[in-house]
């Protein structure tokens, strides 16, 4: 009987207009978001590849020049093969699942120049050319569809699973067959929402295959699907709960829309605002001011600072005196700027850690926050990845400064052998195991809370059958 009801419900639901409209909306929105995300990722990848190729080409030429000078096949001018001119590219590659989520990836720098000419503020170059109007609105990616749109569509197709029959007076007749109200309600909910989710999973799988970019895409997609389905399950149980407790369709729909508004919009907005107010980051302008002060100080006291550096490095012998002083002035200024701004960067890290800690707890207030975070983590579109790239690039700059500093200040060249010990920048990604570990507790919470809601809804539905 249950199978027959399920079959009948499927036929009945699929034949109705709203189901087809909802399914079409899912196909179009996820399909568009994936296509647009793929274009964005390709453009980003192409820009990064040309940047990297250009820098590596220049670096190879610089090394050739150095080797020629060492071999005596080239007459060296003071500025030739100067260690200040070493410049490594540092890039943050788009993730293998980057077409699914854009998140913070369109706001932060994705490339840097690791060069002694640069300081932690200037190493990311001038990257703020995007239109602020469009940046402020955020992109329409698959995450938006999953987090905002799918729950609304689920509500639209399910809010009247019992109330519709009840209003027409058909519920008692349906229950005269050997079927329980709980089975009827769950079957209808599963059929209606199942259709939506099967469509969503199919479209996402198509995107997975069509936009394939290699790497660990399939493994990440597995986790992505897990998060999506856990989020969908949560909403299914919320809908079941409202259906069980609220007798009329209109009140069920109103309550569900209100819950959606609170969970998907109000709580994330409030949590963000409060965490940012509780853990303000240091002023970027204060950061700028410190760098300016460092530059003035260097300009005024270059001789004293050079002498101090040479005293700290007694092994150095001064090289070519013809080399203009602005080389070492720029280097020392950048060192001072780095030291001066270190407390500010540490304060940044502390504020970010505070916010992250707040969000780790506050995410349990709303499944939308959990799902949004986990989906961004899975697609590497999270804020933490951007900050890790910046921190790793700053570390690489510091290592390069340590390696070339003595040569720059003493106006000497590096040897080709010394240069060859320097390593190229490679971004250290978070491993899939780390990702799974990060997702484990929030996912467990989503599943547990869904189970709890399902049990409560089930009991209530059972009780309704007794009084109907």
């Amino acid at each position: 009987m249950k199978r027959a009801i399920l079959y009948l419900e499927s036929l009945n639901f699929i034949a109705r207009g709203p189901a087809l409209i909802a399914t079409a909306i899912i196909v179009v929105t996820i399909g568009y978001a994936g296509w647009s995300g793929d274009r964005w990722r390709d453009a980003k990848r192409s820009g990064l590849e040309s940047f990297e190729a250009e820098k590596l080409d220049a670096l190879a030429k610089w090394r050739d020049g150095l080797v020629q000078i060492e071999n005596g096949t080239r007459q060296a001018k003071p500025r030739d093969a100067n260690p200040m001119s070493i410049s490594f590219p540092a890039v943050l590659p788009p993730s293998s699942l980057g077409d699914f989520a854009i998140g913070h990836a369109d706001l932060h720098p994705d490339s840097a120049e690791i060069s002694p000419w640069r300081n932690p503020s200037s190493m990311f170059g001038r990257y703020q050319f995007d239109n602020p109007t469009t940046l402020a609105s955020s992109r329409f990616d698959v995450v938006v569809v999953i987090i905002l749109l799918l729950p609304l569509l689920m509500i639209a197709v399910s809010f009247d699973v019992l109330a519709g029959d009840r209003a027409r007076g058909a519920l008692s007749m349906v229950l005269s067959f050997p079927i329980r109200l709980t089975s009827l309600a769950w079957s209808r909910l599963l059929v209606r929402n199942g259709l939506l989710w099967v469509t969503a999973v199919l479209v996402m799988t198509c995107l997975l295959l069509l936009n394939d970019a290699g790497g660990d895409r399939y493994a990440r997609f597995g986790l992505w699907l897990g998060v999506c389905l856990a989020y969908g399950l949560f909403w299914l149980t919320v809908i079941a709960l409202c259906v069980a407790y609220i007798p009329t369709a209109i009140n069920t729909a109103a309550a569900l829309v209100a819950v959606w508004m609170v969970l998907a919009l109000a709580l994330p907005a409030t949590v963000t605002t409060i965490s940012e107010a509780a853990f303000p980051t240091p002023s970027r302008l204060a950061y700028l001011s410190e760098i300016r002060r460092a530059q003035t100080e260097t300009n005024r006291e270059l001789d004293r600072l050079t002498a101090k550096y040479l005293i700290d490095h007694p092994e150095l012998t001064v090289g070519n005196e013809e080399l203009p002083s602005f080389y070492r002035a720029a280097f020392i200024s950048n060192q001072i700027a780095r030291d001066r701004t270190r407390p500010i960067l540490e304060a940044y890290e502390a504020a970010r850690a505070g916010r992250a800690q707040t969000l780790r707890w506050a995410q349990y207030l709303s499944p939308s926050i959990i799902a949004q975070r986990l989906l961004n983590f899975t697609a590497d579109a999270d804020l933490d990845r951007q900050h890790r790239f910046q921190a790793q690039a700053r570390d690489a700059l510091e290592q390069l400064s340590v390696a070339v500093g003595p040569a720059v200040v003493s106006r000497n060249r590096l040897s080709a052998a010394e240069f060859d010990t320097l390593s190229l920048f490679s971004f250290q990604e978070r491993s899939l195991a780390e990702l799974a570990w990060l997702a484990a507790v929030p996912m467990a919470f989503l599943l547990l809370s869904s189970a709890l809601l399902a049990v409560v809804a089930h009991r209530r539905l059972g009780a309704i059958r007794l009084h109907d």
């Binding site: 820009g47 402020a136 309550a255 409030t270």
Partner: protein, 474 residues
């Protein structure tokens, strides 16, 4: 009869418990957004004033230096804070707030506050404007979904028709009841938020600010009126409360959440964001337009030697290096204008797509007007960057001219001191008056007005159709 209809509907609407609960939630969110916004603005104003002070201190305290070296070090221009930023932060967090006015190079504005935002900041941000644009229409839709559908479902519409209620009066009664309550709630909330915004600002209240506030109030009032009319129209199209509610929930999601994001995405897909690395290369090329052109350098040298009637640059009464630096600056100006002009065209093309999508959602035009009135949109950002560039040109010219005329035999070893640094005015860019840039918002205002007219006409048309259907059935 019309006033009786308004009174009755107002009473029914005020009795809705769910509505009261949601209204209380929205007011609580408004208070949270205002309080956190106040704290944020206060901190920002302090930081900005401190950065300006330090910038001046560093400039004045740079000691003796060659003027061209000082031009490289230069100063920063800081974007002026808007007194209405708390009400609508607009795009200000996504645009740079400082510009380095260095020699040779027209820098973009840097330091975007959005980069300091938290994990969820790209997803949703709480602000008074966000509440008015997003939450307020939902409240109106919840409040009004049964306005006509409920009367049809309960059979009271036929009774009203039998009592001789005219179609026009019926629509006006429904509209006025919803509109009165909306304005009753909206006006004090807006005044509260505007008051807090003005209180947080150190600037004195000017006529321009009052005019902007008034325009913003009117824009939101129009937007909320559109929401009321849409709610009545959709309600009239549906036979049951349930259907009306669902339809309006869909309209709300599409109008306020999906279409604005979708429009942005289509805009940036059709006209992609600029490649930052390529733009930087273009700017670098613009800055080096003279240094890469040996022929032109020679021509400039020949010209200046001929003008002063000498044969060697050492015999020139001016410092030739400084002269060349200034010529280089002037030759770079059109090149910079070309690069930034191309960026501006790209931005406008993206915003053009957004404007087209305004036809699908009044939220886009209202948001654009709101940002404009709050002086937190790209138009105001552009005015700031243009003003900073003009200041940069004047500043670099003054430094180069000092070097040119006073270097004498010292040549590149010439240094100037605090007396020269003190001759420079601080960068001051007042927010442009609405009178001067108001034209930029005519299209958005016209779109909003068009939406209002169409929503009213369509609402009335739908009610008329519903009344006719009921009359026929009766």
């Amino acid at each position: 009869m019309k006033s009786a209809l308004i009174r009755k509907d107002s009473l029914v609407l005020r009795r809705e418990f769910l509505l009261k609960a949601l209204l209380a939630a929205v007011i609580a969110l408004a208070l949270i957004s205002v309080m956190t916004g106040l704290q944020r603005e206060r901190v920002f104003l302090h930081e900005r004033a401190e950065a300006e002070r330090i910038d001046k201190e560093v400039w004045m305290g740079q000691g003796e230096r060659n003027p061209h070296s000082a031009a490289h070090f230069s100063r920063y221009a800081f974007r002026p804070p808007s007194p209405l930023a708390l009400l609508d932060p607009g795009t200000s967090d996504f645009a740079g707030l400082a510009i380095w006015m260095e020699a040779h190079y027209q820098d973009p504005a840097v330091f975007r506050r959005a980069e300091d935002g938290g994990e969820l900041s790209r997803y949703v941000m709480l602000s008074p404007a966000f509440l008015l644009l997003t939450a307020a229409p939902l409240l109106i839709f919840l409040m009004m979904h049964a306005s006509v559908a409920g009367e049809r479902e309960d059979g009271t519409l036929r009774q009203l028709l039998a009592a001789g209620v005219r179609r026009g009066h019926f629509f006006v009664g429904k509209f006025r009841a919803g509109w009165d309550i909306t304005m009753l709630v909206y006006t004090p909330i807006f005044l509260l938020m505007a008051g807090c915004s003005l209180a947080a600002s150190p600037a004195e209240l000017s006529a321009d600010t009052v005019f902007r506030l008034l325009a913003m109030y009117v824009a939101y009032a129009a937007y909320l009126s559109i929401s009321v009319a849409v709610a009545i129209g959709v309600s009239a199209l549906c036979r049951t409360r349930q259907a009306a509610f669902l339809a309006l929930a869909g309209v709300w999601a599409v109008m306020t959440v999906l279409v604005p994001r979708f429009a942005t995405d289509v805009g940036t897909t059709l006209t992609p964001q600029p490649d930052a690395r390529q733009t930087e290369r273009d700017l670098r090329a613009a800055a080096m337009v003279l240094s890469r052109d040996k022929e032109r350098q020679q021509q400039i040298k020949d010209d200046v030697l001929a003008r002063y009637g000498v044969e060697d640059e050492a015999d020139l009464p001016i410092n030739y290096s400084a002269y060349r630096l200034q010529v280089s600056e002037e030759l770079s100006i059109p090149e910079f204008e070309r690069v930034y002009g191309a960026l501006e065209d790209r931005y406008r093309a993206q915003e053009g797509v957004l404007r087209w999508f305004s036809v699908l959602s009044p939220t886009i035009a209202t948001a654009s007007l709101s940002r404009g009135m709050a002086a937190t949109d790209r138009v105001h950002q552009r005015a700031f960057t243009v003003s900073a560039e003009l200041h940069r040109r004047d500043m670099i010219k003054l430094l180069n001219e000092d070097y040119m005329h006073n270097a004498g035999d010292a040549g590149s070893k010439y240094t100037a001191d605090e007396a020269l640094w003190a001759r420079f005015d601080d960068f001051d860019h007042p927010i442009p008056g609405l009178v001067s840039i108001g034209g930029r918002y005519i299209a958005d205002a016209a779109l909003l007005l068009m939406w209002l007219c169409i929503a009213m006409l369509a609402g009335y048309g739908c009610v008329r159709r519903a009344v006719a259907t009921e009359a026929k059935a009766a």
